[in-house]
Symmetry: none
Subunit: 345 residues, 2 copies
């Protein structure tokens, strides 16, 4: 009976004979044409499944892995974004997976989450990476339901169980940065925060608070400002801090952009960094290295986060179980020129 298995060659013709149809019909079934009766289609599919036939295209797909991940950014406007993106691109290149990039802020998508998920599946994407985006439960649900592995990097809202979430040890990083300043002798340390609701910003703030508590330094609410992750926010924040009667001697900024803004404003007001004021940033982008003075900062393994995101997608594709739905990569304090002991009284 099983004529197909007997002869070695596995061709459309063999399948066709087995299923009792013509070669073109088998081809149509494989290529998903709709001019095949349901009954015929299922008969052919049964034979295909039994024999394990792979069309040349499918065979090549396994070789070249012409798959793609969808990468969605909220906006693409900082060194942070690029570094993460470079990590993703590197890992994707190594795995021979294509990267389809889109940004939601500039071009608000007209699609509902469902439509979007639908489309992503249709286009044959094997996964989805969302970077610093706000996303709804509905969106994650849609991907989850359709079996599209999803990873979020530094999500704006708290991570949900539906997707794997990747971040850095923001709390520990905030604590390290603040401890560093305390160790130098600072007691009046300000926090120049990012957007209030954002998860990673809160973690950094709480790391800062924890360090102060551990160092027995009272928290001064006037020293804690919220803003955005942009450099203007650092400029604005710095202006406010410098108007205080009791100026802080050190500033821990929520990220490098804000820190650079703070640095710029200090400079404008002829305040010497680090002699009169210490500044610590967060992110460890290349900008922190190139500034004058070079910025002491809490480096996140940004590229590694991108690479990790892609690796998680691959693992989920292979059906491996994940150890955890939330991964935090270690930050590291990099001491450069922008921090020093506080000025004498």
């Amino acid at each position: 009976m099983t004529t197909v298995e007997q002869q070695g060659k596995l061709t459309l013709a063999a399948i066709a004979q087995e299923a009792g149809v013509s070669v073109p019909t088998v081809s149509k079934v494989i290529n998903g044409r709709d001019d095949v009766a349901a009954e015929t289609r299922s008969r052919v599919m049964a034979v295909l499944a039994r024999t394990g036939y792979k069309s040349p295209v499918q065979q090549r797909r396994n070789l070249t892995g012409r798959q793609a991940v969808e990468v969605v950014y909220d906006s693409l406007d900082s060194a942070y974004s690029i570094e993460v993106l470079n990590g993703i691109l590197e890992a994707a290149g190594a795995a021979d997976i294509e990267v389809v990039l889109s940004v939601t802020k500039r071009v608000p998508s007209r699609l509902t989450p469902e439509q979007r998920a639908r489309r992503i599946v249709d286009e044959g994407r094997c996964g989805m990476i969302m970077v610093t985006s706000a996303f709804s439960e509905a969106q994650l649900d849609a991907f989850h339901r359709r079996g599209v592995p999803t990873v979020v990097i530094d999500p704006l809202n708290p991570p949900s169980g539906k997707a794997v979430s990747i971040g850095a040890t923001n709390w520990a990083g905030g604590k390290d940065a603040t401890s560093h300043l305390l160790d130098l002798g600072h007691r009046k340390i300000a926090y120049l925060g990012g957007p209030e609701g954002v998860e990673c910003n809160q973690a950094r703030l709480h790391g800062y608070l924890a360090a102060l508590r551990a160092g027995n330094v009272a928290v001064d609410d006037r020293y804690i400002l919220q803003g955005s992750f942009k450099s203007e926010s650092g400029v604005e924040g710095m202006k406010k801090l410098l108007q205080l009667k009791d100026r802080p001697t050190a500033v821990f900024a929520a990220n490098d952009n804000v820190a650079l803004g703070a640095l710029a404003e200090a400079r404008r007001q002829n305040i010497l960094v680090p002699e009169e004021l210490s500044v610590v940033g967060f992110d460890g982008t290349y900008q922190s290295e190139e500034s004058v003075p070079a910025l002491t900062t809490v480096a996140q393994p940004l590229q590694e986060m991108g690479r990790a995101a892609l690796r998680f997608i691959l693992r989920q594709m292979r059906g491996e179980l994940l150890d955890s739905r939330r991964v935090e990569l270690a930050t590291q304090l990099v001491v450069r020129e922008s921090t020093a002991p506080p000025p004498g009284p």
Copy 2:
């Protein structure tokens, strides 16, 4: 003689007969296989070009729904890159076209240009944008032959006739920057250049030279340095310039990164900008705005260049004729805080 034109059908067989080869050979030429002799290949290509043969894949490409452009960067590591990318993304979003991004430097592609072109056609890409990349004639040839519209932005090597090339008025921009410094009274103006062989760098240099000539200022070879487009290059260049007995009073840097490097080094050596030294950059990235002092720079319409690239792809897809193979968008001198008249003697 021209048997092909006589009969209406335009098939591989007809082409093959016309060119005096077999059908498979024609197929191989179209698909860029390498087992075809150069002489044979060109003969077949001549017939293909003359008859205007379009493979079924090419014919179908215009019809299929969701389209994508392939965007290739040499590397993605500067504000310049992001701004151009944002322009592309914006235009792509508006036209409902996907962006497939890849960088060549980090992950050297294992594919030959032909394979790459092949894949791009297979995946249904409707076009290709190369940004600040070095590319070979072979690559452009491969895309050209397969009818994939190709646009290069700020190519490293001189543009070829095979692709549309987009850039800025680098020469005019270099001239404007230098004239601005001359107008302020500077006579000792240095050029802190980028990589020597790169087209746009040369154009800026020649704009600089032209302005000096027009201002009757002798060119001093010690004031002209070459390097890279990175900020370290600005640091290094600045060190050299400041060691000269006869220091320049102004520096025109090949791009903002270099200018920021120069600014940083000046700062380290306690040289006041702009009081003692004027600095002009090129690009007009957001970094130039945020630096202290804010950088006078020649702004390129970076986002517009990205948008224009995508528009060109769309036009070529629609089969419209292009006015020109080379487009230069206007630059604009943005005067900020880093330039001032030279110090008195």
